[in-house]
Amino acid sequence: MHGSSHLLNWILWMPFIGVLGNLIIPSKKANAIRWWSLINTAITFILTLVLYKQFDTSVAGMQEAFNFSIPWIKQFNIFYTVGVDGISLPMILLTGLLFFICILSSWTVEKSVKGYFALFLFLQGSVMGVFLSLDFFLFYVFWEVMLIPMFFLIGIWGGENREYAAVKFFLYTFFGSILMLVGMVALYYAKGKGVDAFNILALSGGHFTDLKLSMFGTEFSFSKLFFVFMFIGFAIKVPVFPFHTWLPHAHVQAPTAVSVILAGVLLKMGTYGFLRIAYPIFPAASVHFADCIAWLGLINVIYGAFCAMAQTDVKKLVAYSSVSHMGFVMLGLAAMTIQGMNGAVLQMFNHGTSTAMMFLLIGILYERSHHRWIVRPDGSKGFGGLYTQLPKFSIVFIIAMFASMGLPGLSGFISEALIFLGIYEKYTTITVLALLGLLLGAAYLLWMFKRMFFGDVIEECKSYTDMNKREIAYMLPLCVAVIVFGIYPSPILNIMKASVGKLVTLLGTY
């Protein structure tokens, strides 16, 4: 298992090097900290691109060339194992890109610059760790570590109600991961404590299908019980209804860049967990619970959309739209067909870019307006005529919005279409109802757009300035990604399809 390439190690630890650098630079030199962070994330991003370049798309599963493994804790056979396959690579690319962009968008942060950027890079490192880990223990550690910077980033730099949001986010996720921890340890013993007992790859493949365990005099299927544990752990992150209520709070209160990361990357960690852990390790149980996942996904789609439509805070609206869109990913996961699963992974990537755009744009707007009301509580308009006042901003917003609602030609469409193609045969009723979500998705976004952008420029908006060069610079890569992958998704699909296909084949045997 000991690979020769250190590329993944560099990708994983580069952000932490950045953290150390930020700690060393004196806090008075705010600009030095910013530039250092920017360079650091840029290097990480370039490294991910190098990884993309060297990636062999024909290989299903882990790419041996990049694997790196050394023993960590001998007593438990815990290893430090990192690796990359077609499912994690899109996420790694997304992480690399979004963090780079977010550093740029955080340029205007003035409060405790040093702490902010250090925590931000720390967050990047831990997110990378989640996507790169192949050892379950390592995965879990990064999964949890990620909470700490998030907690502070929301809690210190967030909005008015930030403390509540931060605590809620932390507790919710922590609760889920505790269940995951129990499942992880149970797997370790079920696997016989051997050298591969924490190795995700070695655990995968349905070794536990027939295992039974008895509690309270009843027999439980081991795999079903612990699939449910894992499910809750990941579902909270996704978030799947009814575990979603942390998300609106966290999104709304978090500072812009953190919202972007939260929606763009962190939510994907949940679905990534399904693809990396819950599905391969418990294929039989996954198939058994597919109906349940599909229905929950459907509820997410519809419920998220309904709730989004009722929001008067634009950020909250987009937050609920994330709930709705992640529902599509869940639907794709429930399909367990090659189209559906590829669609789900692609949707993870595409939602990452489009929602990131939405949140960045809302952040840009917030910097000018210092509020986010579509309609204020007193019934007056929060924004009006932004189209006239901020033309560049509006165009980018239109791109983001239509990408988000799945307009063909923009990235969201292909993934949603694939998901629907994947799910239709198995769950016709759910498909029909989920299409309603597509409709509602257009409705709440357009309604929001109409209320904010059309009509006369209201007095308050007249002082807003259009996007500056820095803002355009960081929106541009996302715009390009959204359009290019909308027309030509193969670059992303090619890297994932073998790995996804392998997983689907595995699931197909149950």
Binding site: K74, E163, I178
Partner: protein
């Protein structure tokens, strides 16, 4: 059969060193009564004594176990490990006491003396192999603890704490003895190793008496580790006592109690008899209750010290899980847990002590906005709080992970989940401090008094293991793995 007395003494050096240190301290204190010059000398003496005990204990760690003093005391690596933790805990507590103004200057030497005494009691308890020595150890531990609780003379709360502690200790010891007497009556011996041979083959009549008797027996031990429902004294006493004393109570008696319960369980109840099943059953219920009650009660507290008291109850519950599983992994996890818990508790109480010294109380509000005044201290506190809650990559997580793995290995999934949920609950109140320290702005401009560079360094140095043990825990868990009981 045990060795003769003189040879036995050779294996009893650490305890003797502590005893000698205690006597020396008494002499020094007597010689320098009401004289400030005694302070450095007392500190130095305790330091030397404890360090040498520590060194000898560490050296003993790899030695094979043996029983001494005609089989009434067992020296084994498990006990030695526990003793190391206790010695370190005492050392830390004495240092905190030196720095804290919660203990009157004149009484600081008394604190050291009594801490030594408690330590001796704890060490005795840890390695006791018969009921008599267990009782003596427990009482040595307890009686001195009562006095320590009242160390803050003229303070009503401190006095009340001591009173409660002594009365509660008295009744529990009495109940325990009553239970012991029946155990003795049925089994005809006070020696645990002899009992162990009898327990697997008891008649049902004997069982009928023994089960209640052992329950009565457990009261005395349960009270020492403050497990629910024998925990009632501990929040009150912890709150009433001076902070260094509280820190000391949270470590030494608790770990001694844990060690003795672990030893008894492994020795007597590592079989399938009804007695063992009842004991383990009762213990697991108490463990679950302890965690839950401790953590839930901690939420509503105003005083950080009291919160920490409840949290230590919660941690006792988690540690009990390591005993409930009756396995090597359990013991290993227990020791590791205790070891990490030591550092976390010391840092937490140390910081609380400074806050208390500055503001006169340790209410949560006093912690607001500390990050902007004392970043190093606050970051240490944050790390410790996260670690206590069990967030990776900190040692608290690893400790919990170990306990979890021991519990899950036994397929006690329900206990594992209860422990997990408790972990979430505990995060809630630990986070409360973090929130106050980081998200809120300070209510006063006052800096925390006494935070000299040296103290900050000490805090930092104590925090380092909290972090490093979370990442590089292979060595320590290896040592804990080696630490086995002599007789099982």
């Amino acid at each position: 059969m045990g060795l003769n007395y003189l040879v036995s003494l050779g294996h009893y050096v650490p305890e003797l060193i502590v005893c000698i240190t205690m006597f020396s301290l008494i002499l020094i204190e007597a010689a320098h009564d009401k004289d400030a010059t005694s302070k450095p000398l007392i500190g130095l003496t305790s330091f030397i004594g404890l360090i040498s005990a520590f060194v000898i204990l560490v050296l003993n760690l790899s030695k094979p176990g043996l029983s001494i003093f005609t089989n009434s005391i067992v020296i084994d690596s498990f006990g030695t490990f526990a003793k190391i933790i206790m010695v370190l805990g005492t050392l830390g507590a004495i240092y905190i006491a030196e720095q804290s103004s919660d203990i009157y200057q004149k009484l600081k030497s008394e604190f050291s003396i009594m801490a030594m005494g408690v330590l001796v009691g704890g060490m005795l308890l840890t390695s006791a192999n018969n009921m008599l020595l267990l009782y003596i150890g427990l009482e040595t531990l307890s009686i001195l603890s009562y006095v320590m609780a009242t160390l803050k003379k003229n303070n009503e709360r401190s006095g009340e704490a001591g009173l409660k502690y002594s009365l509660y200790g008295g009744i529990s010891a009495g109940i325990m003895l009553f239970g012991m007497s029946h155990v003795f009556g049925v089994l005809g011996t006070i020696n645990f190793s002899e009992m162990a041979t009898m327990i697997p083959n008891l008649t049902s009549d004997q069982m009928l008496i023994l089960i209640p008797s052992f329950l009565l027996f457990f009261v005395g031990l349960g009270y020492k580790i403050a497990c629910v429902p024998f925990h009632m004294w501990s929040p009150d006493v912890y709150e009433g006592s001076p902070i260094p004393v509280t820190a000391f109570f949270a470590i030494v008696p608790k770990i001694a109690g844990m060690a003795v319960i672990a030893r008894l369980t492994m020795l007597l109840f590592n079989n399938d008899s009804l007695l063992s099943v009842s004991w383990i059953g009762a213990l697991s219920v108490m463990a679950a209750l302890t965690m839950t009650v401790g953590n839930i009660s901690a939420i509503g507290q105003r005083s950080v010290k009291r919160m920490l008291a409840y949290s230590s109850i919660g941690h006792a519950g988690v540690m009990l899980l390591g005993i409930v599983v009756v396995s090597e992994i359990g013991l290993r996890s227990l020791l590791f847990y205790a070891f990490t818990y030591l550092f976390m508790t010391l840092v937490a109480f140390y910081i609380v002590s400074f806050v208390n010294d500055t503001y006169g109380n340790d209410h949560f509000d006093r912690f607001s906005g500390l990050i902007y005044k004392h970043p190093i201290m606050t970051i240490s506190m944050i790390i410790v709080m996260f670690s206590l809650a069990g967030i990776p990559p900190l040692s608290g997580f690893v400790a919990k992970f170990n306990i979890f793995s021991a519990v899950v290995a036994k397929k006690y999934y329900v206990l594992a989940i209860i422990a997990g949920i408790n972990s979430v609950i505990s995060l809630y109140y630990y986070m409360k401090i973090i929130r106050l320290m980081v998200f809120k702005t300070s209510e006063s401009e006052n800096m925390i008094l006494g935070l000299t560079l040296r103290n900050q360094l000490i805090i930092g140095a104590l925090t380092v293991p909290v972090v490093t043990l979370g990442v590089f825990w292979e060595k320590i868990i290896g040592v804990a793995e080696q630490a086995t009981l002599l007789i099982q």
